[in-house]
């Protein structure tokens, strides 16, 4: 055991030696994001999930926990939270990445139970090969004491793999005149991805993203949606870019891409993109970006509401074969065949389901 550890140390020394002379930065072969999630399962099927993205390379350390009750999941970085009721420590190491998967080594352990820190909680070290859409449960804490405030069935710990779009969608919203890239100082963006089912049951995924002065990208793990034509997955990813006008006013460019896969859709899914320019919200503001169906059978439809430079982008979405969504439906050279109206098909498929993204910008906490 000791010698195998020393052997491993030797390997690590070699690897860390490589870090002294940093290799030329190589672009990851695919933009996969490993997410650790803590979903709270409610008896009626509602799910509220806290998530955190692991570092794209190298080692990482996060804590996922619940404070006050199982219904209040939260996340902390490497520093242990002081107010955890239940929770875990998750140390990670990205081993390899390829076009198809990510191999990640995880060392997870339940550190808090019923408000007490424990050294005897379940845990393990696992090496997982994750594919896009994978959802691997690691642990589950049953709620043995449901209360009026928290009737949850339990709190889980899961690993998920999401794939973000390789390039940002084309900007469709106009920027204020003279605006140049860059914000004043880093801030945090809290994002909630809400999915309201036809039954009015809501599933919510939350994550906090640090926005540098340039901005940041974000990705949510695929959400499973049961439709009349079968189960589909809805993937939402995007970016927030920051701009400043010559007068010092700051604006955010929110770009979103939503991709729907499954249920007879083309293998790469049907993607829709949009963007919106908004003034930098105050910390007490919560913006809700409401998303209708992924496309429209006829151009027009929902107009840009709200304020702050939002512009609806419609039209040209019903023609099958245009863009990623329709590649399989109509290829160049196809003549007269029956083609699938991808976006319209998806819009019909998702009828009754509502999606929205909520955004709150808060100052970076000082340690």
């Amino acid at each position: 055991m000791m010698f195998s550890s020393l052997f491993l140390t030797g390997v690590l020394l070699q690897a860390s030696g490589g870090a002294v002379t940093p290799p030329a930065p190589a672009k990851p072969p695919a933009d996969f994001v490993v997410l650790v999630a803590a979903p709270v399962y409610q008896p009626d099927g509602a799910i509220t999930t806290e998530t955190v993205a692991l570092p794209q390379a190298g080692a990482g350390l996060v804590h996922l926990f619940a404070r006050r009750s199982l219904c209040n999941p939260a996340v902390a970085g490497a520093a242990e939270p002081a107010d955890a009721l239940f929770g875990w420590r998750v140390a990670s190491q990205i081993v390899t990445r390829s076009e198809r998967d990510v191999v990640v080594s995880l060392d997870w352990r339940r550190l808090w139970e019923d408000g007490r820190r424990t050294s005897a909680g379940p845990g393990s070290t696992v090496q997982l090969t994750l594919h896009p859409g994978d959802r691997i449960p690691l642990d589950h804490i049953t709620n043995f004491k449901p209360t009026q405030d928290c009737r949850a069935v339990g709190l889980g710990l899961e690993v998920r793999l999401a794939q973000s779009e390789m390039s940002a969608p084309a900007r469709t919203a106009p920027l204020p005149e003279g605006a140049t890239p860059g914000g004043a100082k880093p801030v945090d963006a809290e994002l909630w991805f809400l999915h309201t089912l036809p039954s009015d049951i809501q599933q919510v995924v939350h994550q906090t993203v640090r926005l540098s002065t340039e901005g940041a990208r974000f990705t949510f793990a695929p959400t499973a949606v049961t439709t009349a034509r079968g189960e589909v997955s809805v993937e939402l990813s995007g970016s927030i870019d920051r701009y400043r006008t010559p007068t010092g006013n700051e604006f955010l460019l929110l770009s979103l891409t939503r991709r729907v896969k499954g249920a007879g859709l083309p293998p790469e899914g049907v993607a829709g993109a949009t963007s919106s320019v908004i003034p930098l919200p105050q910390p007490n503001e919560v913006l809700s970006f409401e998303m209708p169906g992924i496309g429209r059978a006829r151009s027009g439809g929902a107009g840009g509401g709200g304020g702050g430079g939002t512009r609806a982008v419609g039209g040209a979405v019903a023609s099958a074969g245009a863009g990623a969504g329709g590649r399989q439906a109509a290829r160049p050279g196809d003549r007269g065949g029956v083609v699938l109206a991808g976006p319209a098909q998806v819009a019909a498929m998702l009828e009754g389901h509502q999606f929205s993204l909520r955004l709150r910008i808060v100052p970076v906490p000082t340690n």
């Binding site: 550890s5 020394l13 070699q14 794209q56 404070r67 390039s167 906090t208 919106s276």
Partner: protein, 140 residues
């Protein structure tokens, strides 16, 4: 990784760093947060290594006489340690694909939340979006 943060790695690694540069980096909240994260990660790794060594250590303290009675064996152990280290180094070198073990600042960094994420706060402003067909790459 932000190149400015690399100096923190160097500091933690015990390397010589420019005092002004480290002051500059630590003046930034992001720099301070990174220092704490990197330090705690190192502590966690060291703690795990210590736990792994605990049973062996207690076994060793229980038999101090036996250890001191066989100096020749200690040389053998020392030689094995050096051999293991060199073997491991050579294997790592040959197998290539060095894994970066430096703590890299993630593109999206988890931070302590100033207010609870749940229940979801009510929207103060609603903005309607409309998707158009994406031409970005992605998916499978």
């Amino acid at each position: 990784m932000n190149s400015e943060l690399e100096i923190i790695d160097a500091l933690i690694d015990g390397q010589r760093v420019d005092a002004d540069a480290i002051k500059h980096v630590l003046a930034d909240p992001e720099g301070r947060a990174y220092l704490v994260d990197a330090w705690l990660l190192r502590e966690a790794i060291q703690e795990a290594a210590l736990h792994e060594g605990e049973p062996r250590a207690s076994h060793a303290t229980a038999q101090p006489a036996a250890r001191s009675a066989t100096p020749g064996r200690r040389w053998l152990v020392a030689a094995a340690i050096v051999g293991s280290l060199l073997g491991g180094y050579a294997t790592g070198r040959i197998t290539g694909q060095p894994a970066s073990l430096t703590v890299t600042a993630p593109a999206t960094t988890a931070v302590a939340q100033p207010s609870p994420a749940f229940p979801v706060p009510a929207a103060t402003r609603v903005i309607q979006l409309e998707f158009h067909t994406a031409t970005t790459t992605g998916g499978d």
